[in-house]
Symmetry: C2
Subunit: 124 residues, 2 copies
């Protein structure tokens, strides 16, 4: 299923940015594009994912699936972000087995949100 | 529009819990129920929102709207969580004006995720 990868491109990751220089968030986006976005993943740049103290950050989502937010990223993580997004898109239910997740997805989760139509009894 | 309020009920918020005692997350859920869930908000308990280092946490979402995750909460915040959830449900687009948000929603955002169908050009 097609998944959406939101990348916060305004993130300064706590750094002071010289005017005209790309932000760490924009550099992460560029690095992801350079690695190559999988065909079943839509890269959507976003101005702020409200995870500013934990930037750079990205979010993965798809209809009817859990959404995930990951933080403390940099352009050095582009390859792993792409691999993790591809695995999420390829998993029939979006639930990637723990061992198949990149390290940054195991250790740098900021939050996950259930699909909206999850029934209360299924969520407990 | 009906909104969903997910509450992580397994959250230990960094505390050691005596067996049989309710977790801080369960106490937050109970406190929210005691305050009263607004009629246009569905409270859905969840086992883990993956925001463990920033617990207790809740998430607000609705179809076609931005989702929000808030953390560092306790049962003492139940009234504000209910007020914030009601404002989110009542806002025509789910975008509550900054000044109308409870303090905990202004200062304790962990992340927000755009609606999936947000067009790339609208997101920048």
């Amino acid at each position: 299923m097609a998944a959406t990868l939101h990348v916060c491109i305004t993130c300064r990751a706590g750094q002071t940015i010289v005017e005209g220089e790309p932000t760490p968030g924009a550099r992460l986006r560029d690095a992801i594009l350079e690695v190559g976005v999988p065909p079943d993943v839509n890269l959507v740049p976003i101005e702020c994912l409200s995870a500013c103290s934990q930037g750079c950050s990205v979010a993965l989502s798809a209809p009817g699936r859990w959404s995930y937010v990951y933080g403390r990223l940099s352009e050095a993580n582009a390859k792993d972000v792409v691999a993790g997004a591809a695995a999420y898109a390829a998993a029939p239910d979006g639930l990637v087995p723990w061992r198949a997740r990149p390290d940054i997805f195991r250790k740098q989760s900021l939050a996950r949100i259930p699909p909206i139509n999850l029934l209360p009894e299924a969520a407990e």
